[in-house]
């Protein structure tokens, strides 16, 4: 079989037993790969209702059929398990040389079960699987761990996906970091699941050759694709400034949340210093910092931008800068000083915690501090005022090590606000327990819906309709007729990206999304799929994720938005006054479920499931 290794690796950490299992072609056609494999294995191998931090949780790593080829942006991989943060589907996507090494080792997926008796790391050396002692690595940060493992084995071709202190200490939004610090699996606490299994890292060395069905045609086509992508409008922005290049649009159009969603008007904020992120432009960045872009494996764009801080308290820091980091650790905490945001991002990746969740939970604590809900006594003497970047540097490690207030914040904003009480849940920005990404959804209503209905909680990557909204392709302030179908279409569309495991930033490539991908899929695998089949796979996997959540106890009330979205209209800027009413939101949900072909309660119907070929899921759900 071309494009696929055709087998998965199952590792039991409790019994230290491993086995491989074949993945037949019919299964590949049905689920394509990546996310599709992940959810399907999770559904099959995991019992419902388990504690996410118990040995019963199953951790799945999966790659897609394009992995390790020359198709632009093919290095994505997905990690899935039941999320300790949301209690529903946990899913996190990374992008690195780890996936290439894993694919070349001859696998499409890795299932990890059980719990090791003591800290362990896994070394997958092609067909040889070793359980190695990780006592020495426990407590070390992700980058250090990566380096030590590579040095111990003595080969840079070894690729490492590791957790930091946060994962070890079961911080509910701990991440897995692969390839030094290059790209990480941030969201939904997959690092905590790894930590609960006493698994410090998964190191891989793959020496096999990835073969495709039509090599010459693929090479010719990809040469054309590289030219197209480097001239594309989105990828040009990504290449020049990375995701912050697109972020400027949100900041200047009053859609970037400021001070825990208390403002969207950046011009009103008082602190003006030379390194202020409101100055961001390619020229300014080049002038202020040594600014270099680096790429994920096989990516012609290179959206990661590294800034070398040359002066001030964070002198010497060299780290990447991204829009979500700029929002979460910057604007949302009232911090505009770029070197501090870069430093905070580096701290998060080293300790292995999700940047977005960390920023949101700290911004929440800052607002509690502002309102007197938290006092100096609660914070252990830290002045948690908005804009205090020194406090940010103190609190981040406390979260990862679960010290003092950090122990409460490590639970995520939902649990932390329930614990603190005093009305602090009214200002906790999350959906299903997952903290909000950098979009003020009160003025981006289709995005509001997509955050609410996403299978993993407030998720900006499930539909990503904020782009069309901010550019005026659809009305951002009113949820109009057809927006429901638009969200559904985008969800199915982005799901397909996550099955083929390619990056969303490859969007400039596709003239005709489904037929282009069907063609590429045929060149790689030799399997002819119709565009209609590909279209269905996205919907099938989305329904499967939904079925997983339903099995974990999901009901309509879980598709929710935080109270602030309803109670506090945007107070300033051009989007002033915009908010959602509960009635409006109820109708939006009705519309969405209708467009999905689900019941009013948001349950997939038997008819829909059978139409998608999910007969056994329908049977298990009892519909």
């Amino acid at each position: 079989m071309y494009g696929y290794s055709g087998r998965m690796l199952i590792v039991n950490l409790t019994s230290k037993k491993t086995k491989t299992k074949a993945i037949p072609e019919v299964f590949c056609r049905k689920y394509i790969g990546g996310n599709g494999f992940g959810i399907s294995f999770l559904y099959e191998h995991q019992k419902p209702g388990i504690d996410p931090l118990s040995p019963d949780n199953v951790l799945v790593f999966a790659v897609g059929p394009f992995c390790g080829t020359v198709i632009p942006t093919n290095a994505k991989y997905v990690v899935q398990a039941k999320s300790p943060l949301t209690g529903f589907l946990g899913k996190s996507i990374g992008s690195s040389f780890w996936s290439w090494a894993f694919r070349r080792a001859g696998y499409d997926a890795l299932l990890i079960k059980g719990r090791a008796k003591k800290p362990t790391y896994l070394f997958i050396d092609d067909d040889i699987i070793e359980f190695r002692d990780a006592e020495e690595l426990w407590g070390r940060d992700c980058c250090e761990t990566d380096k030590i493992i590579r040095d111990t084995i003595g080969d840079d071709n070894v690729r490492v996906a590791a957790i930091g202190s946060a994962g070890e200490n079961l911080v509910r939004f701990a991440s897995i970091v692969s390839d030094h610090h290059h790209e990480d699996d941030g969201r939904t606490g997959m690092g905590a699941v790894m930590g609960s299994k006493q698994l410090k890292a998964v190191a891989v060395r793959g020496t096999k050759t990835v073969e495709v069905a039509k090599l010459d045609e693929l090479l010719d086509l990809c040469k054309e694709y590289y030219q197209r992508i480097i001239r594309g409008s989105t990828s040009t922005v990504m290449k020049d400034l990375g995701t912050i290049g697109t972020g400027i649009e949100y900041l200047s159009n009053y859609a970037t949340p400021i001070r825990n969603f208390q403002s969207t008007d950046a011009s009103k904020e008082s602190t003006h210093i030379s390194e202020d992120i409101r100055n961001i432009s390619t020229e300014w960045m080049q002038e202020q910092y040594v600014h270099k872009s680096i790429a994920c494996a096989g990516c012609p764009i290179g959206c990661d931008h590294i800034d070398f801080i040359r002066a001030g308290p964070y002198k010497g820091v060299a780290y990447k800068m991204e829009y979500q980091g700029m929002y979460a650790l910057g604007t949302n905490c009232g911090i505009w000083y770029l070197p501090a945001i870069v430093k905070a991002g580096q701290l998060c990746d080293g300790l292995g915690i999700d940047v977005i969740s960390t920023g949101v939970v700290i911004a929440w604590a800052m607002e509690c501090f502002e309102k007197g809900i938290l006092t100096l006594k609660d914070t252990g003497g830290i002045n948690l005022s908005f804009g205090n970047h020194e406090a940010l540097m103190e609190v981040i490690p406390k979260i990862a090590h679960r010290e003092g207030l950090g122990d409460i914040l490590a639970e995520g904003v939902k649990r932390a606000s329930e614990k603190i009480g005093k009305g602090s849940d009214k200002i906790a920005m999350h959906s299903k327990g997952l903290e909000f990404p950098g979009f003020d959804v009160r003025g981006l209503k289709a995005t509001a819906l997509s955050f609410a209905v996403s299978t993993r909680g407030a998720d900006h990557m499930s539909a990503a309709v904020f782009g069309p909204e901010i550019r005026g392709r659809i009305n951002r302030f009113r949820f109009e007729k057809g927006h429901n179908e638009f969200v559904v279409e985008k969800e199915n569309n982005l799901t397909l990206y996550n099955l083929l495991m390619i990056c969303r930033f490859s969007g400039d490539l596709w003239m005709n999304f489904y037929s282009d991908l069907a063609h590429l899929y045929a060149l790689v695998t030799g399997i002819p799929l119709t565009t209609e089949e590909l279209r269905t796979v996205g919907e099938r996997v989305w329904n499967m994720e939904k079925a997983y959540n339903i099995r974990e106890g999901w009901t309509r009330k879980d598709d929710s938005l935080p109270p602030r979205v309803f109670n506090d209209p945007i107070p300033d800027g051009d989007a002033k006054g915009s908010h959602l009413t509960r009635e409006e939101f109820g109708l939006m949900l009705d519309d969405y479920y209708t467009a999905r072909g689900w019941t009013r309660d948001g349950m997939p119907t038997k008819r829909k499931l059978i139409e998608l070929g999910l007969n056994d899921v329908a049977k298990e759900m009892g519909v």
Binding site: V70, F97, E211, L219, C222, C296, G298, I301, K320
Partner: protein, 167 residues
């Protein structure tokens, strides 16, 4: 006279050079090279190799066509030779037993072992038209003579001075 002509011809030998300021470390060159040489994607079988030094230094390296190649000198079986016309390192597969001595002596790590054939792999410039160049998305790779390299360098140093004078 003879000596001079030989020298000139040698400076016209081109080899693959990589601009570390442009290189983003994507390793597409490795993928393409292995695909063309062995029919599948495997960076370990590529004639060009990328070095990534965190956080942001990237460069790709291939055979530099040394004037006095250590690999040729070190080969105990005389399996390697330098093509007088092109400067490319030639391998006599029948003589190579995969002892890897050349891999050890090459200062640029530009030689790899083909585990299938059990012989070595070294850049052959794809008959004068290296395919990695045409795939490089940032145009970091180029095929240059030493003179062309030094020209570019000279210009790069001088240009800022020129603009300073004209101000």
């Amino acid at each position: 006279m003879m000596l001079q002509r030989r020298w000139v011809s040698k400076t016209h030998r081109k080899f693959v050079v990589s601009d570390s300021e442009r290189c983003i470390g994507c390793r597409i060159c490795e993928q393409v090279c292995s695909a063309l040489k062995v029919g599948g994607f495997n960076p370990l079988l590529s004639c060009i190799r990328t070095v990534r030094i965190e956080p942001a230094f990237n460069i790709s390296m291939a055979c530099r066509l040394c004037e006095d190649p250590t690999c040729v000198k070190s080969c105990p079986r005389n399996a390697l030779s330098k093509d007088e016309k092109t400067g490319i390192i030639k391998l006599d597969e029948a003589k190579c037993n995969g002892c890897k001595w050349c891999i050890e002596t090459c200062e640029f790590g530009a030689i790899a072992l083909n585990p299938v054939k059990k012989t070595i792999i070294v850049c052959d410039l794809c008959n004068g038209d290296p395919k990695c160049l045409s795939y490089c998305p940032t145009e970091a790779l180029s095929l240059k003579t030493p003179e062309e390299i030094s020209q570019t360098t000279r210009k790069k140093t001088i240009m800022p001075l020129v603009s300073r004078i004209s101000e």
